[in-house]
Every structure is written in C-alpha cells, then in structure tokens.
C-alpha cells in the first residue's frame, strides 16, 4: 500500500508498504529518518517517541496506515536548521547523553512536557518521562537537563 504523511513539515510518500509495518519502520527504513529508535518495538521504552498530530506517541505502536494523511514530527524535526532546540542543547550540556539510544525519544518527550508545562516540578518531570527507559544514566542528568531547558526557555521568552 501507499502511505502519505507530513513528516517534519514535508509531504512524504512511501510505496509498497506491507500493512503490518509500523510508522516506526516506515520512518526508519522507507523515509530515511532513523532518528526514532527501535529499542523494544512494543511501547515499553519510549525510544521511538514522535508527535502524531501534535500528540506524543510511540511510533512502534502506530500502524503505518494509521499515519495516512496525518502530521508527524520526529526528533529530526526538533531543531531549527543548525540551531538545536534548548531541550537538545541541555541534554548534551547536562551530560544526559551517554550511549544516546534513548535520547531521541527523551528529547521528544521532554519537548512535549515543556510545551504543556513550562515549569515542571521534579515529580512532574518524572511522571512525564516514566515511559522512557534509559540504561546508561540513572536518569539524574536527564532531570537536570529538563530543568535546565525549562530555565533557559523561560529566560528567552
């Protein structure tokens, strides 16, 4: 089947999609956007978090056909040209990136949190990121990164 979606602002089309393919597979293998990660492919780890019509979802749990005609934003769409989003800058600066496999999903999930709640408390950050597994960092620097991004975004508004 053919799937047409808007991805990071551009209309994209994938042909010969097998109906069993996920949005994640189509993004990674058919659209050249491997930023969303394939860590569990069952919605447990959050590594493939993308926006679907503005809502953060696990791309592995979205059938490719369900994305037809909809608007997708992936980790590749967070930066503006060469300018990283503050969430991305702060993940690096806080040391929240080690192997980095969880990072794309965390970046989108944290981006989504700060869009909804610009000044989250620690418990609110924890609740919002509870679906994003990280095996390297023990999460503390992730918390640091989100707080830092919130401060930086507030300061520039």
């Amino acid at each position: 089947m053919r799937v047409t979606t808007t991805v990071n602002g551009e209309t994209r089309q994938a042909d010969d999609v097998w109906p069993g393919e996920s949005l994640l597979y189509v993004l990674r293998e058919r659209m050249g956007l491997p930023g969303s990660k394939n860590a569990c492919e069952q919605g447990e780890c959050g590594s493939c978090t993308v926006y679907l019509d503005g809502v953060a979802v696990c791309a592995c749990l979205v059938a490719a056909g369900q994305a037809e005609g909809r608007d997708v934003v992936t980790v590749e769409g967070l930066a503006t040209g060469d300018a990283l989003h503050p969430v991305q800058d702060c993940l690096i600066e806080a040391g929240a990136v080690q192997c980095g496999f969880c990072t794309p999903g965390l970046a989108v999930a944290a981006h989504d949190l700060l869009a909804r709640n610009p000044q989250p408390s620690d418990p609110e950050i924890r609740e919002a990121l509870a679906g994003n597994l990280c095996r390297c960092t023990g999460y503390e620097k992730v918390l640091d990164a989100v707080r830092l991004a919130a401060e930086r975004m507030a300061a520039t508004q």
């Binding site: 590749e76 806080a94 990136v97 980095g100 970046a107 990121l129 509870a130 023990g138």
Partner: protein, 766 residues
C-alpha cells in the same frame, strides 16, 4: 581529594583537557537523531537477515529441511551449519560454541539456521517454514545439580568450566563468633537499549566488511575469521554506533551470520534483533548460589572466611572462567582475612549462556559478603559501618589471594564519607502519594511503610587479569589543516556510551597542546584496543593514547629544537605553538610542520598480572582495584511488599577524574543497574526456558525509581596508572545493590537471602 556535587557541569571556561568536562563530540548527532547506530545502517541494495533459534534447552537435531523456506518469494538464502566454510566454533575464552548448531542444541535460543530476504517480515516468515526435526534430551537446569557426576553432560568433557580454589593461612581455625548464610542471585540482563545489529557488506576481494555494535572489534574479528575461514585482512570490522553494552556485547551475536549471508548472496545484509530476540541473543549475568561462613573474635575482627560459590554459566563457556576468577578472588569483599577457604565453580547447564555483565562476578559475591558482614555486626553488637571499617583493607594489606594492595584502599574512609552524607528528611505522614512505595498506583496511604538504612562496600579489579596480555594500541597524527594544527586519534577501542571518545580528545589536548582533536572511526585498520570492559579503557587505551601523544611530541619538539637551535628540554607544546620555558612562543606548529605529517602508533601495556596458583589460588592476579561504598535509605510498604528507594548515596575512589561529569555519569548509571538487580531485574528461567523476554516482563529502573544521588568522589592517584586513574565503570554497580538489600532487611527484619527481592519475599507470602 574532593567531593563533587551532581549539579550540571559548568559549561564556561572549558579547556577541554584532562580534569575538565568538555562536551562529548558525538553529543549533537545523538540529540538530533543523526548518529548512526548499528541498526540505522542502510544501503540501497541491502537485504535482511534473521535467525531461527532452538525452542528446546537440549535436543538432538535429526534433520533440517530448508526447502519450504527457500521456495518463498523474496528469500535469497537459507543457511545452516553445513554452510559454514571455516571452523564452526566461536567463543571468547574457549571456542566451544558453534556459529550455527551442529547436530545438537544446548539452550533455548541457540541459532540453528539463518535466512536472508528482501524484507525482514518475509525473512521471519521464511524462518518459520524451516522444518527442524528435534529429539528432546534431558536438560540440566540447576548449577549445583550440574556438578553431580550423574547429571547429563552438556558437553562431552563434563559440566565443569572452572573450579577456583583459594586457600590462605591456617586451615579451618576456630573462632568464638561464627556466622553463616546461603544466598542466591538471579539472572540479570544487560538490557542495553540498542538491540544487536549490524550490516555485512561483501567485498570485491572475496572478503567482507562488517559494521557492528560491539565491545571489542579485534576479538570479534578473530572469531569471524575462524568461522569464515578467511585471514584478518579480508574481514574488516568498523564500529557502528553502540546503544549501550554493559558486557552483553563481548560475545558475538549476529556477526558471523550476517557475514555468511552477505558472502553467500553477494548482497549487503542487515540484521537487527528485536527485543525478544535480544534476550536470547546475548549472554547474561551468571545466577549464583552461595554459601558463606565467617569466623571472628568477640570484637568482630575476622579470623577466617569460607565460601562456596556456584555460578551457572549456561550452555557455553563465554567468559565464565574469568567471571569465576573474579567472583572467587574478590569473593570475600574488601576485608582482611588471616585464613581463607574459597571454592568458586563455573558450570555448564542447559540454561541461557552467561558471561560478562558490569561488575563481572563481584556483583554476585557482594550480596553475600555484605549480608554476612551485617550479620556479624549484629552478632557482636557493633555498628555495621564500624565492623566494616575494623576489617577493611588498607593500602599495603594483602587480600585473600595474597596480593598486597599497592595503591589506595580507602575502605574505612569511603564508609565514613558515605555515612556522613546528609540523610534524607524523615518520612512525612502527609506526604505526596507519589513518594510512597508504588507511587500513584499504590493502594494504601502508607500505613504499613517502614524505613530502613543499609550500607555496603566493595572492590573490583580494573583491566584484564590472571596473566592476560592486556594492551591497547593508539595511532596519533598531527598535521596542519586550514592553517591550524589538527590532531587525529585512532584507536579500535569501542565507544559504547561511556565517553571514551571525549577522554581520548582530552588526553591529546593535554599532551599536545592542540585544541582541535578529531576522533577517527573505530575499526580494525589499527591494532587492538582491547575490550571495552573491566573498567579498563580510560586506563589502558588512555595509556596508549598518552604514550602515542608523547611519541608525537618528541618528534615535533626535536624538529623545533633543530629549527630554532633552542635546547629540547626547554620546549613544550601549548595553544598550537611551541613554547619556551619562559612562556615565550618559539614557533607556531603550522609554521613548523608545513605540509608534513607527524604520526606515531604505540602499543601500550599495563603492569603484567600473574596466574593464580592452581592449588592455593594465591598470586598477583589483578593490576588495580577500585573501591566504592553505598548507603541506601528505603521505605518499604510491608503490606504490599513494595519498596521506594529514598536515597542511594555513594563514595568512590576514582584515582583521578579525567572527565568529572562522565565519572558522575558512570556512577549514577552503574548505581541504577545495581539497584535494579536488588529490586526488580531477573530473567526468569523455568526448565531452561526464559519466561519473560520483553521489557513488559523484564523490568529495569525507570525515572520514577531512581532517587537523586549524593556522590563523594575521592581522588587518590594510583602511582602505577596513567595520570593516576582508577577505573570507574563498575564499582557502583557492585555496592549499590547490596546496600539496597541491607536497607530492606533493616526495615523489615526479614533475612531476604535472595535477589531480586520480590514483593512476596517482603510480605512473607511467597
């Protein structure tokens, strides 16, 4: 020596040299999604490989019919053991494992056949059509039972991989105080997030190029060459982006399979395990069954230690022999024992193979020796910290293998530091539901919650041991590009997330005074970097990079001395220039070098280690020891059996923090993995079969589970190591779990002699 807070690092005024925390060079591509992990690789004409695995823990293969699979549209190849052109054996220490099963399968998940097709789903469907006629055989699924002479043999030469005997001092002396216990540790998974993946590309010279996520390119290359029957120059490996490792990528996974399919089809072949397959596709942490007995005087001073440790290695040896070496030689913890009797066994069973995981044998033993130290303290009526301090190793002391510790051994100080860190506030009766054990999913309001505090201190060897030729190779090049001096550092040492690439840059900047340092792709075009394991890369590859830089610097300064006529001893490199002792700039490197390139390649070794005496287990087996202590504070809901870790604070001696932010990152992440083993992480194996191969059923800590940590970093330089470094990757994984277990015991009053501690153990209902 200093204590470090965990506040975000200061991002201003960075020198990028050692002791600083420059940003990692792969940070930007990792946050934008552009970093190419092994599973992201893609070529226009590539096809997909999948693996058919054994459903049985032990069976004879009567026949395999690949015909129905080959007949499917889109299938390019279906291969079995018959198609392995070289010697069909792989393995880290013993090559006892077939790349594809040969007449017999010895564990559930053993690779039997491989398929290549134009779509991964086609390949999976084809694999299901392969007809394998199995004859199930009796399976050995218990480590102790495997040692019984009547047990079925997993391999022809028996079920014992290694028995390490350690005997020291007077045999079986009496003691007025004797304490003992039995302890069990479940099977832990590395649970790295990036699944096993790689891309094999057939080459025109009849060889193959393999892009793969691994911990040691050259040991992979050796095994792939053997299976393919090719010389090393025809099997070229390049490190693809690695999504975590933690020991689980020391052994081969899809390496040989992808190469076989690529060479057979003439097409690039990509293999990507899914999470379920990943649980079958790598070795795990050995489950352990342990019996310990300590004798002490009435003051709690240890007189003897006895231990029997049985590690279930599963169906193939992997690194079991080395894990036995660690679990035995450090099995009684960082304490002084006049008399020792330790027997540590690694055995074959038909359970999933076990091998390397962060902490490597010391993790299992630490749960037992720390539980027993608490028992001893209670028996003699002393404080649990004080009893540890009374017996703790000090610099110059001999450990149980008779090795004198020849650098810092700050056991007492680490315990004091961690004890003196501020305690969390006491539980508040009106507290936020989210702070209770179980969080918002809780069904009580904390009526049955009790608090406990636990301590643990441990030590771990750094680097490869027992006489292993442990070296690394570094190639460092200095040249002028765009009018500026640029240094390129090339090693084969795997970056798996820990930040070695940053450390390599820092060392080059420090030694060569050049700001711009490029980290070359990691591949087999340079000599071996050794394994990214045993907390060894900053020490060993760091040592190699430092030595290669020194060789480059000598050449550059020789040239500067010849050019300027100034004495060599008065020249140094700084800011991209040759500088005199006065600080005056002598000549810019750009001018001195012109179009010339200065390049040096150095192979670097740490001090040799020795084999342990086969009869007594005595000897200088390890090159360096790293120490850490944890204090855990837990709230336990005794009605629900749920645990909230309120605080998990630590003190660790790191020798010299080359990159303090990365050191903190290692300690935080390692602590989380140790806590995971204490509380939730276990691959449940019943009758040789894994019951929970998914992230739905195998739980790892989430951001809700980990408290913020207070971390005291001690920096007692090791005079034998480059810059005084001490490996930092593993100690925190070893001491965190036993501290958590101790805190739960203290809170509940229950013995809790098994980890992970499950709710039913706490409630006494299971």
């Amino acid at each position: 020596m200093r204590a470090t807070s965990t506040a975000p690092a200061d991002t201003t005024a960075r020198t990028g040299r050692i002791g600083d925390s420059p940003l990692r060079p792969d940070g930007v591509p990792k946050v934008t999604g552009e970093f190419a992990y092994a599973s992201d690789l893609w070529l226009d004409d590539m096809i997909w490989g999948v693996t058919l695995r054994s459903p049985h823990p032990h069976a004879r293969i009567r026949s395999i019919d690949v015909g129905p699979a080959l007949a499917m549209a889109g299938v390019y190849a279906v291969l079995t053991a018959d198609d392995v052109p070289g010697r069909n054996r792989v393995g880290l220490e013993y090559d006892d494992q077939p790349a594809l099963a040969e007449g017999v399968v010895r564990y559930q998940g053993e690779p039997v056949a491989i398929v290549a097709a134009d779509h991964p789903e086609v390949a999976r469907q084809a694999a299901k059509k392969i007809v394998v006629d199995y004859e199930a055989r009796p399976a050995v699924t218990d480590g102790r039972a495997a040692l019984d002479p009547s047990a079925p043999k997993v391999h022809d030469d028996g079920n014992l991989v290694r028995h390490l005997t350690i005997r020291k001092g007077e045999p079986l002396p009496g003691a007025p105080v004797v304490v003992s216990l039995d302890f069990e540790v479940g099977m832990q998974d590395q649970a790295f997030l990036g699944p096993e993946s790689g891309l094999a590309v057939p080459a025109e010279d009849g060889g193959v190029d393999l892009y793969v996520a691994t911990q040691w390119l050259h040991v992979d290359q050796r095994q792939v060459c053997q299976a393919l029957g090719l010389p090393p120059e025809k099997v070229r490996l390049t490190l693809a982006g690695v999504g975590g490792a933690f020991g689980g990528r020391e052994d081969l996974s899809m390496h040989v399979h992808a190469c076989l399919l690529a060479m057979h089809t003439g097409k690039p072949v990509k293999m990507v395990y899914n999470r379920e397959e990943s649980f079958f596709g790598h070795v795990h942490r050995h489950p352990a069954a342990m019996h310990y007995e300590y004798g002490a005087d009435e003051e709690g001073r240890l007189r003897y230690g006895k231990a029997e440790i049985v590690l279930d290695g599963g169906a193939y040896a992997s690194s079991t022999a080395a894990v036995v070496g660690n679990a035995g030689s450090m099995g009684l913890g960082p304490y002084r024992f006049p008399s020792v009797e330790v027997d540590c066994y690694g055995v074959y069973t038909n359970n999933p193979p076990c091998g390397a995981m962060r902490g490597f044998g010391c993790v299992q033993a630490a749960f037992a020796h720390e539980a027993l130290m608490d028992e001893l303290a209670d028996r003699v009526g002393k404080d649990r910290v004080e009893v540890r301090q009374l017996n703790g190793l000090r610099e110059g002391d001999e450990n149980i293998t008779g090795q004198a510790i020849d650098s810092a051994a700050p056991v007492a100080e680490l315990l004091a530091r961690v004890r003196d860190l501020p305690m969390p506030p006491p539980p508040d009766k009106r507290r936020d539901l989210r702070d209770l054990p179980g969080g918002v999913a809780n069904t009580t309001h904390g009526e049955g919650v009790v608090r406990g505090v636990g301590y643990a201190v441990t030590y771990k060897n750094v680097g490869f041991s027992e006489g292993f030729d442990d070296y690394s190779t570094a190639r460092v090049r200095m040249e002028v590009t765009g009018g500026e001096p640029v240094v390129t550092v090339h090693t084969a040492a795997a970056e798996v997330g820990q930040g070695l690439v940053t450390v390599e840059q820092q060392i080059c900047r420090t030694e060569l005074g050049v700001d711009k340092v490029v980290v070359h792709a990691k591949d087999t075009q340079v000599g071996s970097g050794g394994s990214t394991s045993a907390s060894r890369q900053t020490y060993v590859t760091g040592g190699a990079v430092k030595a290669a830089c020194e060789a480059v610097r000598r050449k550059v300064l020789d040239r500067a001395a010849a050019t300027t006529g100034l004495p060599l001893t008065e020249l140094r490199l700084d800011g991209g220039k040759v500088v005199a002792a006065t600080g005056e700039v002598v000549i810019a490197l750009a001018e001195l070098l012109g179009t010339d390139v200065v390049e040096e390649t150095v192979e670097w070794r740490h001090r040799p280690t020795r084999r342990l005496d086969p009869a007594t287990g005595q000897g200088n087996a390890h090159v360096q020891y790293a120490f850490s202590a944890h204090r855990a504070v837990v709230d336990v809901d005794t009605e629900l059996g749920l645990v909230k870790v309120v605080a998990l604070d630590t003190a660790q001696d790191v020798g010299k923090a080359i990159n303090p932010a990365a050191v903190i990152g290692q300690i935080q992440g390692g602590t989380a993995q140790g806590m995971g083993l204490a509380l939730m992480e276990e691959i449940v194996v019943e009758d040789g079969k894994i019951r929970n191969p998914s992230f739905t059923d195998y739980l790892i800590p989430t951001i809700l589970d980990m408290p913020r940590m207070k971390i005291a970093i001690l920096e007692y330089a090791d005079p034998h190591a480059p810059y005084g470094v001490r490996g930092v990757g593993e100690p925190s994984t070893i001491s965190s779990g036993p501290a958590v277990a101790a805190a739960i015991r203290q809170a509940t009053g229950r013995a809790l002699r098994r980890v992970p501690i499950r709710p039913e153990h706490i409630t006494g209902t299971g």
